[in-house]
């Protein structure tokens, strides 16, 4: 699109061809329009030239002159409209003077130099035109001469390259009348009849409305849908809970209380504690549930504590049941050698806290295999009896679900069926089946 003012100016330049020489007109063209506009204006002119009836002869010559002059500083082959000029020059249907004019512009015909030609006005040129002094070389020759260096244009977009001119003549004349008859031309001073139109008006209007791209087939690009509001996307507000700032009680606090426990636990790892010492530890553990974390115990040291002071071990583990380390302690407990004390610890733990089922199962498996591996018959009997009552206790207290371990336990009972407690356990199993 060209602005209305620009197209007005341009059209008046075309009209001045009757009175002023070409070079003046093109000079005006350069002074009226910035270089950035030239291409667009020239494209409009080119489209306007396509329909031979829109512009009068003098206007057409001026248009060609402008098309040529706009790019005359470069070589003809780099003129973007060179192919149009060549086509027009070799168009057999076109007026001879027009073709000759273009040829002269291109510098390939005529004796008079281009400068002299441009000093004429358009109407003078037409008037003085002498066909005899001109030769019309065939299209191929012209193309070779001027277009050879032009590569076939690479269109970036197919939609563009195949577009058609978006101007359709739609003559508005009474039905049955010949559109081309001159009766519909506007006569000065005469009341215009229906169907009459002004060529000037049309030409200028077209100049304004031309679109460089033309009309191509249209692609429908549906808009993407908006994502509907999500379930909890709208923010629902509920009254907040109040969270007050906290005073740090650790300020200048007594930090020694852990020392006693730490000390005693260290001793407890090495041997059984004296009753008063044990009481002290248990008291400290109960009075401050967090002191256990300051006791210096680690999972590695647990077996020693279990063997030497099972009660303290139970208390410590109970206090730590919710810490992250507890699983490490359990793992150690499961994997330590089966002993009276470890069983006591496990048994007490099962009644004090919720042990992970897997842990209890692992422990039972461990117990059973320990029983099977003992060489000493006497000790084996003792152990088996113990494991049997332990299992019965677990089952009765619903700490384990027998069915999880049914086969394993049953095999164990059968293997040691000679022992009274094993038989008892077997009966218990059967009764639960």
């Amino acid at each position: 699109m060209i602005s209305r003012d620009d197209s007005k100016t341009l059209y008046s330049l075309l009209n001045s061809g009757d009175l002023r020489p070409f070079d003046q007109i093109s000079g005006d063209f350069f002074s009226s329009f910035p270089a950035s506009l030239h291409f667009r204006l020239c494209s409009s002119l080119a489209i306007l030239l396509e329909d031979k009836s829109v512009l009068r002869s003098s206007q057409r010559l001026v248009a060609y002159a402008i098309l040529y002059q706009a790019y005359s500083s470069q070589r003809p082959s780099s003129n973007p409209f060179i192919s149009l000029l060549v086509d027009a020059a070799s168009d057999n249907d076109a007026e001879k003077f027009e073709r000759a004019f273009i040829l002269q512009l291109l510098g390939s015909s005529g004796s008079t130099s281009i400068k002299e030609v441009l000093k004429q006005t358009a109407s003078d040129y037409i008037k003085c035109f002498d066909i005899a002094s001109h030769a019309f070389p065939p299209r191929e020759q012209l193309q070779q001469q001027f277009c050879e260096k032009i590569n076939p244009e690479q269109d970036h977009c197919l939609f563009k390259s195949i577009s058609v001119k978006n101007v359709v003549p739609d003559p508005d004349v009474p039905r049955g009348c010949d559109v081309n008859s001159s009766e519909f031309d506007l006569q000065p001073g005469v009341q215009p009849k229906i169907g009459a139109g002004d060529r000037n008006e049309t030409a200028a209007g077209l100049l304004e409305n031309f679109s460089f791209q033309g009309l191509g087939p249209q692609w429908i690009r549906p808009r993407p849908p908006r994502l509907p509001v999500q379930y909890d996307e709208l923010v629902w507000l509920n009254p907040d809970n109040h969270h007050e700032l906290l005073w740090d009680n650790g300020m200048c606090a007594d930090t020694s209380k852990g020392a006693v426990v730490r000390d005693l636990i260290a001793k407890a790892l090495k041997g059984p504690l004296a009753p008063t010492q044990q009481e002290r530890v248990l008291f400290e553990l109960v009075s401050d549930p967090k002191i256990v974390y300051h006791s210096g115990l680690t999972p590695k040291k647990l077996p020693e504590l279990v063997e030497n002071n099972p009660l303290i071990a139970v208390e410590v583990l109970t206090k730590m049941i919710h810490s992250t380390e507890i699983s490490e302690y359990f793992t150690v407990l499961v994997n330590m050698d089966m002993s009276l004390h470890s069983m006591e610890v496990v048994n007490r733990l099962t009644t004090a806290v919720d042990l992970p089922t897997e842990f209890v199962h692992m422990y039972i498996t461990n117990c059973i295999s320990s029983c099977e591996n003992i060489k000493d018959k006497y000790m084996q009997n003792r152990l088996v009896r113990l494991v049997c009552v332990f299992l019965q206790s677990l089952i009765r207290n619903k700490i384990i679900n027998v069915h999880d371990l049914f086969i394993e336990v049953q095999a164990f009972c059968i293997e040691f069926s000679r022992i009274r407690e094993a038989a008892g356990l077997f009966r218990l199993l059967k009764s639960l089946e």
Binding site: G197, P217, L227, Q230, V235, H322
Partner: protein
């Protein structure tokens, strides 16, 4: 080291005593809210301990309370300094551990005589378990988190608290509970469902544990393992009687000989009889009794937390609402109602939210009305906001807008009051940014993209890490483009009409067919200049901005997806596994279970799914866990939908910006999304085809369209009405069976064109684009057939009509073209009002 310790202890002992009493005095003053005097005492204390982080911390707390939270930023700075300093102390003392371990007894002796050592020191040397930096600074961390919480910066609060929670076990119970409750609030508000469930479980555990401890304590004297057993064992000299060799079962094959003592015999019998006494020792302590907790709180000199039980119920309601288990939520609300006597506004708000979630809007409104207590200005913000939400869902956008703006104006009143008078009450959190998001949604629904974007930008201060926010801003840009509000393009993007300029009169009349700016050159130049900053109150909407936002959203989505996509294994075990591994935090809570679970899996001894049968505790929490795994499913699906939506928008935006290559790759990744909605697949194919056309790759472009071609020239519906279900909302009504089937109504009319395309129109679009493509390929006959079919479906489509006109002109049938234009209903003829006087 030894000497240093002892010298300091001897010289500073009286001084330490003095500071200890000062500390006690300060604490008393603080808890009686006598802040001015408290500050004086603290300053005195600071003279003796010039850089003690805990003293500095408490001074900051008091000062902040005294001036009514006037400068939270500065407060945070001080606390962060304190935290850093304590952590430095902690690591410094940690370095000492190595040396200290060798001198264990000495150090213990010294430290026991010196009550005011740096706390970490005396403890840290002994064990690897505890005392580290976190322990030293957890109060400061908590206070920082509280402040962020009050500023609605939940993610920041969360990231501060999380590491504290990971190592919560050694923290004294009162404070640990405070930390848990705050983290729970924060986790719920930032939609961390599994984390929230973990914390609830943990709170339940510790509250029952405490009761167990006290009970076992009281009963221990009467139990059967009195200390005399130990007495017996230790009094007897340990002389080996027999060597028993026990082969270690699994781990250790070597035989180990154990020496047993005589006392073992006695122990054996004792244990045996203990076990054999059936069921005597099974007096498993009864769970619960929360007064224990409150007892410790007194110890910690924290105000007693009134009703933890009610609180836990309410938290569960919130969690269940978050995870959309509405039935369970309803049960939980009932329980809460039973406990809460009278009108607890929190319960009523939650109940209202429940009804809102169930789509029972009238009841939700009623409950809200009953709740207030609207005289309390903080509540009224929530009240109005929630009414706004309800009316939004009801499709009453005018009313909704009024309520939202009321909520905003009320909260700005609060802000003003706060700056005017410094009250001692802790500040009510500013909710305006949250309401702003709702306002944005509201304006977007009303088709006011620029206003909407302004509100979204406000909300971005806290929602910056939500993919949805960025998607919404991008949608604002797209809507602005649609409405022709973008600066670069004066006209609406897809004109619904063909524009024809009529030039000249009579014989000379010409029709100039609509200036169709080629779509790919419509890039907006304005947005390219700079990306509008987040803080900019008036963002410049543009396609470039849209692209930025969408890329943002995609990035955020990918990072959040890595959380949600971690699983996908079908078995029960996998689900369990997932809930554990979902969050490291959760792991730490149920650490015992996880570890044991892993162990079980590793040894292969435990059958699948056994975890589910865990005794006790499981009943209430299994509901939570179930709803969480359901929720995670839902989240995954939602993320998929959001992802599709982002990609489809992005492909469109890239086309608009004239980047066919990027549009193509985006469309392709959209088409690669698993379980992609058919609607999005359709759009993805369309965008990909267009991009390929623009790239001159016609054959590939055709492939994207031809998949819809069934036989000959017939195209099936690219998607069905059901596929559009996403864009329809549930029919609002009082429905019990909300969870089941719900009636759907198209809301396009209500909600300002969420999605205009119906399946039939989509088919028409395909025909039209196929026509275009055939035309481009030079197959005019085929193009003609397609365009005719397109026009039979979409008689008013400007594009289809123009394609038809193009084909006519191509074939030189300008008369037909003209008559087609004149018969087209969506066309504007613009008079060419151009007059020139010139020689005729």
């Amino acid at each position: 080291m030894d000497s240093r310790e002892s010298s300091s202890s001897s010289s500073s002992l009286p001084e330490e005593d003095a500071s200890l009493s000062l500390a006690k005095q300060a604490s008393l003053l603080f808890h009686s809210a006598n802040f001015a005097d408290c500050l004086t005492v603290l300053r005195q204390l600071l003279l003796t301990k010039p850089s003690d982080p805990k003293v500095l911390h408490n001074i900051a707390i008091v000062e902040n309370l005294q001036d009514g939270f006037s400068n939270p930023k500065k407060f945070l700075e001080v606390l962060n300094d304190v935290k850093k300093q304590s952590e430095k102390f902690a690591t410094a003392s940690g370095d000492n551990v190595v040396g200290a371990n060798n001198l264990e007894s000495d150090v213990v002796a010294v430290s026991s005589g010196n009550p005011c050592l740096i706390p970490q020191f005396s403890a840290a040397h002994s064990s690897s378990i505890v005392l580290n930096a976190e322990f030293a600074s957890h109060v400061a961390s908590y206070n920082i988190a509280v402040t962020w919480f009050n500023l609605s910066e939940y993610s920041k609060s969360f990231s501060i608290l999380e590491p504290v929670y990971q190592k919560i076990a050694p923290i004294s119970e009162g404070i640990a509970l405070r930390i848990c409750l705050l983290l729970l609030d924060v986790a719920l508000l930032s939609h961390h469902a599994s984390r929230s469930a973990g914390i609830i479980e943990y709170i339940e555990k510790i509250s029952s544990v405490r009761s167990m401890i006290s009970q076992s304590e009281s009963s221990s004297s009467s139990q059967q393992h009195p200390p005399n057993l130990v007495t017996k064992a230790s009094s007897v000299p340990s002389t080996p009687i027999s060597d028993i060799s026990i082969a270690d079962s699994a781990t250790n094959a070597s035989e180990i000989s154990l020496s047993r003592s005589l006392s073992e015999e006695a122990e054996y019998e004792n244990l045996f009889s203990t076990l054999d006494m059936s069921g005597q020792n099974l007096s498993r302590p009864v769970h619960h009794s929360l007064n224990d907790i409150s007892r410790t709180q007194i110890d910690d000199s924290i105000p007693i937390i009134v009703d933890l039980r009610l609180k836990l119920h309410l938290y569960k309601v919130r969690l269940l609402l978050l995870t959309r288990n509405l039935k369970a939520a309803k049960r939980e609300v009932k329980l809460a109602m039973n406990i809460a006597r009278g009108n607890n506004s929190m319960v009523l708000f939650l109940k209202s939210q429940l009804e809102y979630a169930r789509g029972n809007h009238p009841k939700a409104i009623k409950l809200l009305m009953a709740s207030s207590n609207r005289t309390e200005i903080g509540t009224s913000v929530m009240f109005y906001n929630n009414l706004g939400c309800i009316h939004y869902r009801l499709g009453k956008h005018q009313t909704s807008a009024i309520y939202f703006s009321k909520a905003l104006s009320t909260s700005s009143v609060i802000r003003k009051e706060k700056t005017q008078n410094h009250t001692h009450t802790s500040f009510a959190a500013d909710k305006s940014l949250l309401v702003a998001y709702n306002c944005g949604m509201q304006y977007l629904a009303c088709g006011k993209p620029i206003l909407a974007a302004r509100f979204f930008y406000k909300a971005s201060l806290i929602f910056y890490n939500r993919p949805l926010l960025w998607l919404r801003i991008a949608e604002c840009c797209l809507m602005a483009l649609e409405k022709g509000l973008l600066d670069s393009t004066g006209a609406a993007s897809t004109s619904s009409e063909i524009k024809v300029h009529v030039v000249g009169k009579g014989k000379w009349r010409n029709l100039v067919i609509g200036e169709e700016v080629p779509k790919n050159s419509r890039a907006d130049l304005i947005g390219q200049s700079d990306s509008s900053l987040v803080n900019d109150r008036q963002p410049k909407l543009s396609m470039t901005l849209a692209r930025q936002c969408l890329l943002n959203a995609l990035q955020l989505l990918n990072s959040s997806e890595s959380v949600h996509m971690s699983s996908g294994l079908p078995s029960d075990l996998a689900i369990e596994d997932e809930t554990y591994s979902k969050s490291t935090n959760y792991k730490s809570v149920s650490g015992g279970d996880t570890q044991a679970h892993n162990l079980a899996v590793a040894s292969g001894q435990v059958a699948n799914g056994e975890l589910k049968e865990q005794k006790s505790t499981s009943t209430p929490n299994s509901t939570l866990r179930d709803s969480i795994s359901d929720y995670e499913d839902i989240c995954r699906k939602e993320i998929q939908i959001i992802r599709q939506s982002i990609l489809v928008d992005l492909a469109y935006v890239e086309l608009e910006l004239g980047n066919p290559l990027k549009a193509l790759s985006t469309a392709r990744s959209l088409l690669n999304v698993a379980e992609c909605s058919r609607v999005y697949i359709f759009l993805g194919n369309l965008y990909a085809a267009e991009a390929l056309c623009l790239l001159n790759r016609l054959k590939e472009a055709a492939e994207h369209l031809l998949i819809y071609l069934s036989s000959g020239h017939n195209i099936e519906l690219p998607f069905t009405q059901e596929d559009c279900g996403l864009w329809q909302v549930e029919k609002i009504g009082d429905c019990e069976e909300f969870n089941g089937g719900s009636v759907a109504t198209n809301i396009a009319s209500d909600e300002g064109q969420v999605f205009a395309l119906n399946p039939e129109e989509a088919r028409g679009t395909l025909y039209s684009n196929l026509a275009t493509m055939s035309a481009v390929q030079g197959d005019r006959e085929q193009a003609d057939k397609f365009v005719r079919q397109a026009l039979s479906i979409l008689p008013n489509s400007p594009e289809a009509n123009l394609t038809a006109v193009y084909l006519d002109l191509m074939l030189g049938k300008s008369r037909e073209a003209i008559s087609r234009l004149k018969n087209c209903s969506h066309i504007t003829f613009l008079p060419g009002s151009f007059a020139v006087t010139g020689p005729s």
